[in-house]
């Protein structure tokens, strides 16, 4: 099953991954990526700035469509049994999961490759924008140049 969910509600990582594994118990390997909201910005907590909350803006319609297109592309490239993508929008607090990508395949290589492909593309293509609230005000997060470099390895 190939599922994309773009949602305001928080989700429970353990429940989602547990259910995904149970639903795909015949798949040899399951790889998941979880991105969580960090409570700091910068190289590490000590030298960084505290982030007390985050607002994730998204482009309704296009967000779902982009993630579905990426999932379909992953299916074309690798033999996959199932994919689950969940992405939050709205207000988040530190520790909240932002994104979950889970991939099931008979082959662990394919599961690793497809999960990484989905994350690399999601980071540069999916229309979401993070605004961080720090003690000194709210600022839009800058896009990462290295994220754009990473995606180039997946060019067909």
């Amino acid at each position: 099953m190939f599922t994309v969910r773009v949602q305001n509600e928080a989700f429970n990582i353990g429940e989602e991954i547990g259910a995904f594994c149970a639903a795909n118990s015949s798949s040899g390997g399951i790889v998941t990526f979880v991105g969580q909201m960090r409570d700091f910005r910068g190289p590490d907590w000590d030298s960084g700035t505290a982030v007390v909350a985050m607002t994730l803006e998204h482009y309704p319609g296009m967000a779902e469509r982009q993630l579905s297109d990426l999932t379909a592309e992953a299916q074309r490239r690798w033999p996959l049994d199932a994919v689950l993508v969940i992405h939050r929008f709205g207000k988040l607090t530190p520790g909240d999961p932002i994104v979950l990508v889970a991939v099931a395949s008979a082959h662990r290589e394919s599961a690793f490759d497809a999960c990484r492909f989905l994350m690399d593309w999601l980071k540069t293509q999916a229309p979401f924008w993070k605004k961080e609230n720090t003690p000194t005000g709210a600022t839009w997060v800058q896009a990462s140049a290295s994220d754009h470099a990473k995606v180039s390895r997946w060019k067909p």
């Binding site: 803006e57 482009y59 982009q66 992405h87 540069t124 229309p127 979401f128 924008w129 839009w140």
Partner: protein, 83 residues
């Protein structure tokens, strides 16, 4: 044509969306930016450095050379930062 703005582009323009009817010579994203920039001081500020602005036509990423003649929805936003 519906034009959508996101993130700091939205904040600078001061609108999340607007319905516009550009003249027929506005055939590309680039020309649409030229045309929109004249609508208000907010628009001008948002599009001041257009290299920072990404665009989508009918929910598909396109560069500024992309066609908008038959578009029903055009969106402008900064590079994405999800995930």
């Amino acid at each position: 044509m519906t034009v959508l703005y996101f993130a700091w582009v939205k904040e600078k323009v001061g609108l999340s969306q607007e319905t516009v009817a550009p003249p027929p010579e506005v055939t590309t994203v680039s020309k649409l930016i030229d045309w929109l920039a004249d609508r208000s001081a907010g628009h001008k500020a948002a599009f001041a450095n257009r290299k920072l602005i990404k665009s989508a036509v009918d929910q598909v990423h396109v560069d500024h050379g992309g066609r908008v003649d038959s578009a029903t929805e055009v969106a402008f936003f900064p590079p994405v930062t999800g995930g």
